[in-house]
């Protein structure tokens, strides 16, 4: 007779891994401080504190940023701005820059005495910083280009009285983006007005006319086809994923309905699909699928 003891083993495993993880993170701290011999005492303490407090959090933040960046690059609409994530990231970049500066000053002093001191950690730090900065820059540029494109649409949506999502531009965009959006559309409008619009009859002077034969407001193409990866793994308040169902073969999946065709499809966990954006919009916002 077989006794299934997997759950007991799993419990034991949890205990041991917890200890290991603790010690390994301690090791990391030790390793990282090796690089900075000439750092002042204060800097050392500060660094240890920041590394200890949020190492795993930092990694997950970075992954979140990458996901956010990918989604933003591929989705047709402007996604809500990740306020807290970006504040944290920008703060960390600032910290890192300062740290590298302090470290390299230490190197200058040390140079005459010990050339044994490896420069590898410093190099890695700089490269890593560049990578992160590129990510942030690309993310923001991508958002700006969308703000340009949907400028009138965004403005129109924010002026609607009842709109939970677009109602507040400051939720959708960062402070700087709102400023950019306002100023840029103002400048553009001024150019249009001065160059041609003022020569037209009054009823043709609007730039956001939707009554005419063609709507002047460019709306995001909600039916754009996108590639998605179904990742699942979101646990909501019920303790499990409440949207998860099973298909005929008993595999876990989400079921979505394409409205125009009235067709139901199952999105298997771990699979890649090409699908309309409007269909998976909600799933993407909840982090259940990511765009690739």
């Amino acid at each position: 007779m077989n006794i299934d003891i997997d759950d007991i083993l799993a419990e034991l495993d949890r205990d041991t891994t917890a200890v290991e993880r603790e010690s390994s993170s301690y090791d990391d701290v030790g390793n990282k401080t090796v690089g900075g011999n000439g750092v002042s005492q204060l800097g050392d303490v500060e660094k240890q504190y920041s590394v200890q407090s949020s190492k795993s959090e930092r990694i997950s933040d970075f992954q979140k940023l990458v996901t956010q960046w990918r989604n933003e690059r591929m989705s047709p609409e402007l996604l809500p701005y990740p306020h807290e994530l970006m504040t944290r990231t920008l703060h960390r970049i600032q910290e890192r820059v300062e740290l590298i500066e302090t470290l390299s000053m230490g190197y200058l002093e040390d140079d005459r005495e010990s050339t044994v001191d490896s420069k590898l950690p410093l190099l890695c730090m700089e490269a890593e910083l560049e990578r992160l900065k590129f990510l942030v820059r690309s993310f923001i540029r991508c958002r700006l280009s969308k703000i340009d494109k949907y400028s009138i649409y965004l403005r129109q949506q924010s002026e609607l009285p009842e709109n939970p999502y677009y109602g507040r531009l400051d939720l959708l965009m960062s402070e700087e983006e709102v400023k950019y959006h306002m100023k840029h559309s103002e400048i553009l409008l001024k150019l249009f007005n001065n160059s041609i619009l003022k020569h037209l009859p009054e009823e043709l002077q609007a730039v956001n006319d939707t009554e005419g034969s063609i709507s002047m407001v460019d709306e995001p193409n909600w039916h754009k086809t996108v590639f998605i990866l179904v990742c699942g793994g979101v646990i909501d308040e019920t303790g499990t994923d409440s949207k998860l169902t099973t298909d005929e073969d008993g595999k876990p999946c989400y079921s979505v309905i394409i409205e125009d065709l009235n067709e139901e499809i199952y999105l298997l966990i771990g699979a890649v699909y090409v699908i309309r954006y409007s269909v998976i919009k909600d799933l993407m916002n909840e982090g259940r699928v990511i765009l690739i």
Binding site: S213, I214, S215, M216, V217, D218
Partner: protein, 188 residues
């Protein structure tokens, strides 16, 4: 299909044959003789942007008790673009058809036409054609050599001449992506 889309604007300038249902004074300049009225049943070729409204909107006749559906100003006549001859040619061999000669904006126009008249058959034909030609476009776009100038054979040049503007856009995107990918793989 945006307001500021240049290809769209160009496509909308294509002329379509239509017939007037009313005699309208002062519109003679559409026919080329200004100052004179346009006569009923006269045939004209008008650009799509003008015609697609005129074919929907009717005249407000003076009769108040006239409850019938108003007759639109103009009636669109079936254009050469979507004549049975063309549709048959598409059905028989979409991949070898010279679409550019028929119209450089065939897809856009056909889409408009199908929307305007809810033409199921035309949209089906279009869909099949796009699929069939899409495969061909993919074949030509993928087979690029890194030194593109020698790579472009006579055959592919002839093929490119037959694409309409929408397909050219697809070809260009696919081609550039393939080329970049190959470059990246080769350069490391």
């Amino acid at each position: 299909m945006g307001y500021y889309d240049i290809d769209d604007i160009l496509a909308e300038g294509t002329r379509f044959p239509c017939r007037f249902n009313y005699e309208i004074p002062g519109l003679g300049y559409l026919e080329g003789n200004p100052g004179k009225p346009i006569s009923k049943h006269s045939k004209l070729e008008l650009p799509l942007w003008m015609v697609h409204l005129l074919a929907v909107v009717g005249a407000q006749s003076g009769d108040i008790n006239d409850t019938e559906e108003p007759l639109p100003f103009v009636e669109l006549l079936p254009p050469d673009l979507f004549a049975p001859r063309v549709l048959n040619a598409i059905k028989s061999g979409a991949a070898s058809l010279d679409l550019h000669a028929i119209s450089p904006y065939f897809y856009t126009l056909a889409e408009r036409w199908a929307t305007l008249f809810s033409d199921k058959e035309l949209s089906q034909v279009l869909k099949d054609m796009l699929l069939e030609r899409g495969q061909e476009i993919n074949n030509y776009a993928v087979s690029v050599s890194l030194h593109s100038n020698q790579g472009q054979t006579n055959e592919s040049a002839v093929f490119l001449q037959m694409l309409d503007e929408f397909e050219k856009q697809i070809y260009r995107d696919a081609n550039v992506n393939c080329k970049e990918m190959k470059k990246w793989l080769a350069m490391k």
